[in-house]
Symmetry: C2
DNA sequence: CCTCAATCTGTAACCGATTACACATTTAGT
DNA sequence: ACTAAATGTGTAATCGGTTACAGATTGAGG
């Protein structure tokens, strides 16, 4: 490994001068700068971030906490984060926490062991207590003082309910996501507000997680534990898909007998048949903006906005009448 | 931040003794050990990995290079990797390289700046030249001497072709994945071998990437650039879906007019209608085993197996007659 | 009781960077 | 030409750990 010492020797200057040249800090003579640059080039030197990080007590790494990478929504978020991070010289460390507080705590501890410079979390939203680095919540902000980027879920819920009403839904089932997730509640209240104002009858069906592997099971329960309905506002696209499939299996036609609207707009929602009408969440944008906010917080100790709400959007396809 | 020095002071011993107690290396007296343990507990100390890593020239981080996180296959692999890594105290650093050599090189450089202890790569397969850490290739091994875990793609191709034959396909289109990806070629040769041995007529349709956003476009091209066919062996499930959708849009019935078999078995393949018959790749298992091989290489400098081939499996659903 | 090995423990060097500080050399201003 | 400020550079401390080495203590064997 080529170290700063090797460069210094080769260039005939001290390590301090090399470091100053490298970081454009302090004064560096013209001659020295040239010699250092040559030495760096011929030796193929690049600095060891671990050493730098030890002294600075901060590294160019950010931690990304995700509730479930196998849920196709989050990889898109991750991609947004990754793109912004990479453009700005940050690495991302991945933590898949599965709505498991212990795993989350473990990761947060790992992160601080590695002098991570900031955390992006789409997990519980419980901003880890005594944790001092910049922290941006993705999608699941709880308290007023948090920095966060989220989709305007209340609006999303309204959009979904309006779409159902426009297409003449009469007996609606609203799937409510896990109560401990703020966004799920907003979605529910948005939808319910619209439904109430139009005086439509509806039933609420609660789901207790967003875990993908529960989807089929949940769809079966939906049909067995609710009375007749002609419209479903699903808690996400995966669930919408599972419900659609179960509906077809039970002999219903879509959208004639049962119409369904999803939430998220995953890539496959577009590719399936019938195409799923859904509320698009700007997942990539969420990750990208979140990373931007975090990097601003890290580097300038401030961010233009504190709470950003991105607008969801209705994507009309074929699962509504 | 609580440092080893604080612990030493509190316990009334030297930092060397604390370090030895921590790592169970060298001799540590009974009394000292107890005092150190108490100090650690009351101060809530945990070691800084950056400092450790600087001296050891190796950290408990592994790099994971993925070609495209938004392709739903890879998050599953990532989850397998993450689970094994986490169980063994490793962190994973994510690199989304998008089949872009420059990005890959950039990440490899980043990795070495952070004293990463090993790399798992599902990217180009071009094991980065002068890179000295343990390296395990996921899915895309090229050369004989590499360590790798892959799915037996040749078998996968055979399975797909056999399934098509069983369900009376006559005019088959075989979608060939990118030529520079070893697995894609194996799949193709496996399928072609079976097709040839049965004397079936087929056309080959080449696709140039696995990027998700190309899928719809590619499906259109497929219909426009090939002559009549009744069966499609798709290069993956996303493409299969896109082709199915395009087929239905053009008035074909599935599986009556055109039957389709996919590759991967993504979670939504099960949830869609008609259910996609496909060749299941053990994505999670691939990641998990890959991580295991890498950790063995890191810690014991050897691994039980050098090249592991996992078996793909036919999943019968409704897109074949 | 003596000797040698085994057990403990602390001091200090080291890993590869950054930077405070001191000192030397220019340059500028009068 | 003389002083003060600006510029350039190296030495050494520092970040928080690990470990080689040396010295001290204990125990076993003869």
């Amino acid at each position: 490994m080529v170290t700063i010492k090797d460069v210094a020797e080769y260039a005939g200057v001290s390590v301090a001068t090399v470091s100053r040249a490298l970081n454009n800090s302090g004064y560096v003579g013209k001659q020295s700068r040239i010699k250092v640059e040559e030495a760096i080039k011929t030796l193929g030197y690049y600095p060891n971030e671990v050493a730098r990080s030890l002294y600075q007590k901060s590294s160019k790494m950010i931690g990304l906490l995700l509730p479930d990478i196998s849920n196709p929504y989050f990889p898109l978020v991750a991609k947004g984060v990754e793109d912004y991070a990479q453009q700005n010289g940050y690495m991302i460390i991945l933590g898949n926490v599965e709505d498991n507080i212990e795993k989350e705590d473990m990761y947060v501890k790992f992160f601080s062991q590695y002098n991570i410079s900031g955390v992006l979390s789409a997990a519980t939203g419980k901003k880890s207590q005594n944790y001092q680095v910049p922290f941006v919540l993705l999608d699941r902000a709880l308290e007023e003082e948090d920095y966060s980027i989220a989709t305007d879920d209340h609006l999303g819920g309204e959009l979904a309910a309006k779409a159902i009403i426009e297409s003449k839904g009469k007996q609606v089932v609203v799937m409510a996501g896990p109560k401990n997730i703020a966004g799920a509640n907003d979605r529910l209240s948005g939808a319910l507000g619209v439904l109430n104002s139009k005086g439509l009858s509806y039933q609420i069906f609660e789901t207790h997680s967003y875990q993908v592997d529960k989807a089929e099971e949940t769809a079966v329960q939906l049909f067995e534990s609710t009375s007749h309905f002609d419209s479903v506002i699903a808690s996400n696209d995966v669930y919408a898909l599972a419900v659609m499939k179960e509906a077809i299996k039970r002999g219903y036609r879509i959208p004639e007998d049962i119409q369904i609207i999803g939430y998220d707009d995953m890539l496959f929602s577009r590719l399936m048949y019938p195409g799923l009408t859904t509320i698009a969440q700007p997942a990539y944008e969420l990750g990208f903006q979140g990373a931007k906010m975090l990097v601003d917080l890290i580097e300038k100790n401030s961010s233009e906005h504190k709470k950003v709400k991105l607008k969801p959007k209705l994507i009309m396809r074929d699962s509504l009448r």
